[in-house]
């Protein structure tokens, strides 16, 4: 596949750097995590998904 064709893909071609895995699971903003948990507790997931 040529570079031009690669650049037209919605799913990008990515380079791997194992050192970036050190960020996996990192909670960048505890406020955001708390907010997400609150959202899940109070309104849950969209009904369209839970009814599937």
């Amino acid at each position: 596949m040529k570079i031009k064709e690669l650049n037209k893909r919605k799913v990008p071609i990515v380079k791997i750097d194992k050192s970036l895995d050190r960020y996996n699971g990192l909670v960048l903003s505890p406020d955001k995590l708390e907010k997400a948990n609150e959202v899940l507790r109070t309104i849950g997931l969209p009904k369209q998904w839970t009814n599937k």
């Binding site: 919605k10 990008p12 791997i16 895995d21 960020y23 955001k32 995590l33 309104i43 997931l45």
Partner: protein, 148 residues
């Protein structure tokens, strides 16, 4: 339509992505993180600048590097890459400030018709989820890749 975007680097798990923003203020490393919560398949998207020296991330800084469109297209590309591997993932995004949440909303609005081809997109209201529409002041956003 594929907009110009920056080359991406990621870890083996495809949960952390890095790219370099190049603009009026120089080269600024950026990180996009998909952090899993205690609910299975539910991830939070975080995005911010990476400190060149410590590697720490600042998700409150406003770079104003003059390349916001390209940055946004690159963040969207990370969502495609992430959901290519984690196809059942729900991705929750909200800004670290109201202004940033508004920026996210404007970004989603801009690419809504394109985005809805590949994703289910919801906006967070006080009492539930709304099928995302332009012009509504949502508190957060939830997306899930459509099955192809």
């Amino acid at each position: 339509m594929i907009l110009p975007r920056y080359p991406l680097t990621t870890g083996l798990e495809l949960q952390t992505f890095e790219f370099i923003s190049e603009g009026t203020k120089g080269r600024i490393p950026k990180l996009v993180l998909f952090t899993q919560t205690n609910l299975r398949d539910f991830y939070i998207l975080s995005f911010g600048d990476k400190d060149k020296f410590t590697g720490d991330i600042d998700d409150k800084v406003i770079s104003n590097n003059g390349d916001s469109e390209k940055v946004l297209a690159t963040v969207i590309a990370t969502i495609y890459a992430f959901t290519d591997k984690y196809q059942d993932a729900y991705i929750y995004a909200t800004g670290s400030t109201k202004a940033r949440t508004r920026l996210y909303r404007m970004g989603i609005s801009k690419y809504l018709s394109e985005g809805k081809r590949d994703f289910e997109i919801y906006g967070e209201l006080k009492d539930g989820w709304d099928d995302f529409k332009k012009g509504i002041d949502y508190n957060g956003f939830l997306v899930k890749r459509k099955k192809s």
